[in-house]
Subunit: 187 residues, 2 copies
């Protein structure tokens, strides 16, 4: 009788099988992810995330995740949701979390606690049309806390470095991504 | 009697005053934004966004925005929320939306419709520990649709370019951001 190995809430057998499938056919590792948004006035937009393309075929999640983006009053918004750069920091936190949990599971490391605090410094002069430094974050700092009953601090530190080196969101921040933007003017 | 000018849901008088305040004292344009997350098992984490630092002082929103990050089943998750790279695309969509609406308001351009679809290609080989291209998106494509009763297509196109050039999230993607990551091992 087969026993399913679950560690850190991750099905390790499925993880190993997934890695094997991608190794056998790199197309299995190819994804196109998507997000849409509809502006609702002022700083506020409604975002939706649903389907994605995997190995050339559309995968429908069967559910739509709705998000609201807005600004706080000091930035002329109505405080209905986080702003775009806060969401960017949240994306990094989530990316680190899943990367750490999955890779720990693959290495036999049990995690009982894992938290992230991310902060980023930004100077909005360029955004508002004044002379200033770059438009985006000048620095992002992530702090994390981890607890494991079966790994040494050195193993946990090494894993933290590995996760940084293989994190999709960190890579998008630390290295340039080609971004194209098209506009269609409606009648 | 003073009349408040509101265009695109943006208080233009407040916008002009805010830009003037930042011009008079660049510290007014300095923000540190934050996001935290707590891992809940597997791919799932709970994120929270609340306070930020503005001009050296903590600003409390008075409300906490909660987000859930997860993966779809094909990536060993339980589909409880969008994944990290989808959230990154959502952040770009929201950033473009607020940038377009605010700058249109400042220029006297009325917007009646504004939508974004963002997609990004990613190869997960590096994430799962195989030889592959970069960990993050190899390309991000944004498409937008805008409708205005009082601007020419040329004006709307020029504004689209301006928003790209001054978008904080686009800048963080298109140009490298220094990211530091620290780990504290709990007993």
């Amino acid at each position: 009788m087969a026993t399913i190995t679950v560690r850190n809430g991750v099905n390790v057998d499925q993880l190993v099988a997934t890695i094997g499938a991608i190794q056998a056919d790199p197309a299995v590792g190819a994804f196109t992810f998507k997000a849409t948004s509809t502006w609702e006035g002022g700083a506020r937009s409604r975002g939706e995330i649903r389907d994605f393309v995997h190995a050339g075929s559309t995968a429908d999640r069967g559910t739509t995740f709705q998000l609201v983006g807005d600004e706080p009053p000091v930035l002329l918004g109505s405080n209905a949701g986080p702003n775009a750069v806060e969401l960017l920091l949240q994306a990094l936190a989530f990316c680190y979390g899943v990367g750490y949990a999955y890779n720990a599971a693959a290495r036999g490391i049990e995690i009982t606690e894992l938290r992230y605090e991310i902060e980023g410094d930004i100077d909005l002069r360029t955004f508002v049309g004044l002379q200033g430094p770059r438009a985006g974050f000048t620095a992002i700092r992530a702090r994390s806390w981890v607890k494991s009953p079966n790994a040494t601090p050195a193993q946990l530190e090494e894993l933290c470095q590995y996760v940084q080196d293989t994190s999709p969101v960190r890579d998008c921040l630390a290295n340039p991504v080609p971004v194209t933007t098209d506009l269609i003017v409606l009648d």
